[in-house]
Symmetry: none
Subunit: 412 residues, 2 copies
């Protein structure tokens, strides 16, 4: 199998002030064509560092894609590093120089002296056309490996990669294909999922399964490798079927699907509506439910009742009940849900009351204590949770947990 390595160049990447989205983009595109990336490097604007990264990449990869360092200024050193690595001199590419001159002329700008350097290419390499900017790319061959240098500007890089690099890699990759699929779960822990899958998690299997977790959402990646795309796709689908059965209720969606998106789709399909009554999540559940386009089909009305008075005035929660049990209590959560459902004439209501922190906790009611209540005309579920984390996490985890209860217990 042919393998790739990516090198991202730029001091702004090493200072952490710019997030590199080029490398993930290239990795996804390469993987789709069956070319896994085995390593990626980020180095600064230094010729020595770029040459070193090229050497390391060439040790393990067949295709090396470099982004950045092709601009006209003194800190753009990819051209020089390529020449050094290839043992070549830089020569002016007359065709590219003409294109750069045209670029400035057509925009009525004066071409600066330092733009000329952008037409310099290592002698044994070819230029890659860039119709969106002044920096051509570089395509070179090194001991049978393909090296490409592309600009760091994402829109220029993507266009040039798709048009001029990817087709070449496809024909050279020797036809191995990788197909991936993501399965998304909620409601249990990573280790429990791993135990449920048992031998399927074996590192030497094909398809391979990887697990990641964020804010309670567990993502399983199925990665199948085969000699043609159809076979890889069939392997992924077969594996997905097995996993789907094993995961049962924990599984809520595939690939880019979100918990709120799946809940919204189920509500739309079932022609049902929902209302929200939120205290500590402060509108987050409503925000998530209205993220998808078409949310007006199912989202009726939301209340953010932060104060005790607003819980009473807006949702009709008995003031004495709040006095007796406290605003963060099972009883108040249940009344909020009922009030929201009735006042919005919705089929379901989600109510949340809790202590997101960092202040406001006590021994009996610690920070992270949350009550979630979901009501329908025939059924109501109210649950207590303690999420031990900082405020933002407690709020997001609470919102997702509420959506998941609605999904698994009411939208069956």
């Amino acid at each position: 199998m042919k393998k790739a390595s990516i090198i991202s160049i730029g001091n702004e990447l090493l200072s952490g002030q710019t997030i590199d989205t080029n490398a993930p983009y290239l990795k996804r595109k390469l993987l789709k064509c069956g070319i896994p990336t085995v390593s990626s490097f980020t180095v600064g604007d230094s010729e020595e560092a770029i040459v070193r990264a090229l050497r390391l990449s060439a040790e393990e990869a067949d295709f090396i894609i470099v982004t950045g360092g092709l601009g006209p200024t003194d800190d753009d050193l990819t051209r020089q590093a390529f020449a050094d690595f290839l043992g070549d001199e830089l020569v002016c590419d007359g065709e590219q120089l003409g294109k750069i001159e045209d670029y400035f002329k057509s925009r009525g700008y004066k071409m600066l002296e330092n733009n000329k350097i952008q037409a310099m290419i290592p002698k044994s390499a070819e230029a890659i056309d860039n119709d969106r900017g002044t920096a051509p790319g570089i395509l070179a061959n090194y001991q049978g490996k393909i090296l490409a240098a592309l600009p760091g500007v994402p829109s220029e890089m993507k266009k040039m990669f798709k048009v001029s690099v990817l087709p070449l890699l496809k024909t050279s990759s020797g036809g191995q294909y990788i197909v991936t699929k993501r399965l998304k779960c909620f409601g249990t822990g990573e280790s429990n999922i791993a135990e449920m899958l048992g031998g399927l998690m074996d590192r030497n299997r094909n398809p391979l399964i990887n697990i990641t977790v964020e804010f309670g959402v567990i993502t399983l990646y199925i990665i199948a490798t085969a000699e043609d795309e159809n076979t890889a796709r069939e392997m992924v689908e077969a594996e997905s079927k097995v996993l789907t059965e094993k995961l049962g209720d924990y599984l809520f969606g595939y690939d880019d699907e979100t918990l709120a998106g799946v809940v919204g789709k189920k509500l739309t399909d079932q022609k049902k509506t929902v209302a929200t009554a939120e205290s500590c999540t402060g509108g987050l559940v409503a925000k998530l439910l209205t993220d998808p386009a078409g949310a007006s089909e199912y989202f009726k009305q939301g209340w953010v009742t932060y104060s005790n008075e607003s819980k009473t005035e807006q949702l009709g929660v008995d003031a004495e009940l709040i006095e007796k049990n406290g605003a963060v209590s099972e009883e108040v959560a249940a009344e909020m849900a009922k009030g929201a459902m009735e006042r919005a004439s919705a089929d379901f209501a989600i109510a949340i009351t809790g202590i997101a922190g960092p202040g406001g906790g006590s021994e009996n009611k610690p920070v992270g204590l949350v009550y979630i209540s979901i009501a329908s005309p025939h059924k109501q579920i109210t649950k207590r949770f303690v999420f031990l984390h900082e405020r933002g996490f407690v709020r997001l985890r609470t919102a997702k947990t509420a959506l998941n209860i609605l999904r698994t217990q009411f939208l069956i």
Copy 2:
């Protein structure tokens, strides 16, 4: 000057399906303490690849920070790679094992056999406590260099880095100091800000100024380098003073301050309260206003009135007015704000109605059209905007614009 290298581990990073935010975070934090990152590597879940990256990092860096690969499953290989690299065996850390057992006990979960491996640490290394998850980190010494392994989960990683790793690096770094400060602006474009600053943007100055922009928020980074921390800090503060004067009203805060946080603080200081009435933003403004701890001081009540009926029933917007002007109109926005202010007995109300898209647009009312109205007892401002972007952007940009109008026009 001491230098750092970062290694990010995970097949999901190499497949491009997860964007690595850990490395940029670490790079920023390190740079703040005068420790530049000279390279960063991304490698897969392979012991061999991790060991190789450790070797490369050790060649050029004094501090090596590794994230990921500390989970309980078979594809978590950082522990083994550290042991291999250090020439050490893995031993069970009794204290950490106890903590992991407690973690499960306190949550009422059964601890699984595979969680025990998380207590294994190379013999010559120390464990780093993790109070948010089950994976302790690893702190080791290799030929005078400091190596740290942290979990890949960002919230766990950040906490552990700040508490247990950074203080150690600070005392070991010595030398040159870099102090940075961020100035955050809203309400104009990047090029206008650059023009306002003129020669201050020169690339050869110290302090240096960098600009980034996201969702309308323009961040200016002041970066000062000096041989001692005090001098660097004084340089930053002097520059900050100059910029603060030049930026005027556009400047809303510094460093980690957010627009909603600044608005919340002003409301608290002025002992004022706010209510929200949202249509297309679906609770996002309420969510942002309640992000800060202590939001109950100023946040009175929020409505998410997605449907026409709920605008009438909940906020008292005249049904005929909606019929005549449409729900997305200046008149309806103004009525929503008044209704919310009165019904919540709040000092201010923010109302939003618009077309977030992708559907629902027409020639007269295109996707991205938004009306924002802010009401106080003595003053009301209603403004029309068209934000040409996808749904998520329109919603966030709208919410931030509304907060900015409240900040600049009402909370003076």
